[in-house]
Amino acid sequence: MDEARTSRRGPSPRLWLAGGWLLLALLAAIFAPLVAPQDPLAQDLMLERLPPFWLDGAEPGYWLGTDSLGRDLLSRLIFGGRIAFIVAFAAAIAACLVGSTLGLIAGYFGGWADRIISRVVDIWMAFPPVLFAILLVAVLGTGLSSVILAIAIIDWTRFCRVIRAEAMGQSRMDYVENARIAGYGRIGIMLREVLPNVVPSIVALLSLEMGIAVIVEAILSFVNLSISTDDPTWGSIIAEGRLSIHQAWWVLVFPLITLILTVLSFSQFGEALKARFDPVLR
């Protein structure tokens, strides 16, 4: 039966393309010291602003060219991916845990719990997110953990809102009432009956949020508020590339493409996973 179902639906190119890119980028980031062709921090003024490999004047071993200090762009992108993925996973999971838990409680219990949580979310969302992030990092100090913390603090509301609405809808279903009649406790019903039905949305949001975390991290490095100026991050490479756009367009364009592909893949991967997880859509 499972086979029949899969063949009827056909393979999902969205899932494989997005997942494939993410896997490639993730593996490259994990094994960065092995796969990066050059040292990402090694400067060589003799090799400054080398073009990518298919243009005249390219040097072998510097596939995507070099920046204005002669550092290899591909190696910097690969090492930048490490920070991008660490931030994406840690921040998204933290935001997910806080937001989904509060959303589930608000949606299932309703009443006072819902009123308090919803008001907090409303107030939270009145802050412009990027400004809020910059402010938070300024207060917490720069560094990997404060970037992760800042993103989680800002974006838990995204999970909370969606999961609250879903949990609320599920709680009105007769199967929840049936479980009440059978004598299950409220927390038990929330975890056993309601939670499995909101998991597909949590998965989709989690993946989407990873993409958003990558963007926010890039924005923070762009304004020089992220990790440190030495370690390459996609945002800091973009910031440097912006300055030399007329002399070396590749320093801006390649990190942008990497960023866009990664963010897009996260959101598409999430949507495709949701369809897989959801027994009704399946």
């Binding site: 009440r180 059978a182 004598g183 039905n197 027994p279 009704v280």
Partner: protein, 292 residues
């Protein structure tokens, strides 16, 4: 012998003070089917929900007693009440589409409950579940147990729910319009099935419906409800032979006759409703006075 369910003088109000149940009294004897008939909004479902302890939080019970096999539900601690209701009652719901958890397979949904309510072993619960699926004439229990609810038709799901309701051997089942959401052809089968299982298991049923035809087929006793008030209560045979209350007669007159499909539908007689409204208004006034 004490009644399986004994409701005495039950009243419920909405937050705006409006009464939705007006001193309802009714009893269901062990093994008996009592139909609760009335128009939409008459409070039929509300009574069922009150018994099962799942009233919406906005509805408040203000007076009256509910005795389940002699135990006063109002006197019990919430936890003890939940346990008692869970062990002795079950619901056959109106809408089989939303009454099963869409993300869990049928098998675990059914057996979990037996393990939880009766403390059975998983193996025993599994055997019981299969036996019940057989009783509701599901031919392919293996497939059904492995299915997700959306993979079954509405009629199949209602069969599963009926099997689930009877599985834990409850003393009382509240059937809340169990055939309303189904095709006419399936309705008859489901009704027969409920009647058969009821006889076999000797379960008392509070059967909520708006359909007098169903009442005649399945029940021994009837309570006719209007605006949260029991206007007439009788043996089913006696009620159909000689309805006493003007509203019951009007309701029967309004039932469509299939022998004359082109006759226009008749509403319930307006004069009867006006009389009832006045009666209820007077009763409400009298009810409010001693309560301040």
């Amino acid at each position: 012998m004490s009644a399986c369910l004994d409701i005495a003088n039950l009243s419920a109000v909405l937050p705006n003070g409006q009464r939705v149940l007006r001193s309802v009294s009714l009893a269901v004897q062990p093994g008996e089917v009592r139909a609760l008939v009335g128009e939409s909004g008459a409070g039929k479902t509300m009574i069922g929900k009150a018994v099962l302890g799942v009233l919406p939080s906005s509805v408040r019970l203000v007076e009256g007693d509910m005795l389940l096999e002699g135990e006063d539900l109002g006197r019990l601690q919430p936890k003890a009440r939940r346990t008692l209701i869970g062990a002795r009652t079950a619901l056959i719901p109106q809408d089989p589409l939303t009454a099963l958890n869409p993300s869990r397979r049928i098998g675990p949904q059914m057996t979990d409950r037996l393990v939880r309510i009766l403390g059975w072993s998983g193996e025993k619960a599994d055997r019981r579940t299969r036996q019940l699926l057989d009783e509701v004439q599901i031919r392919d229990p293996e497939r059904v147990l492995k299915s997700y609810p959306h993979e079954l038709s509405g009629g199949m799901r209602q069969r599963v729910l009926i099997a689930a309701a009877f599985a834990a051997e409850p003393r009382l089942i509240v059937a809340d319009e169990p055939t309303t959401a189904l095709d006419v052809t399936v309705q008859k089968q489901i009704l027969r099935l409920i009647a058969a299982l009821q006889r076999e298991h000797g379960t008392a049923i509070l059967f909520v419906t708006h359909d007098l035809g169903v009442v005649a087929k399945i029940s021994q006793k009837v309570s006719v409800l209007y605006a949260g008030k029991v206007v007439e209560e009788a043996d089913t045979a006696a009620l159909f032979a000689a309805p006493q209350h003007a509203y019951t007669r009007a309701l029967m007159a309004a039932t469509p006759r299939y022998t004359d499909p082109f006759a226009s539908l008749k509403p319930v007689d307006g004069a009867v409703l006006a009389g009832l409204a006045a009666e209820i208004a007077a009763a409400d006034l009298a009810w409010r006075r001693p309560h301040g």
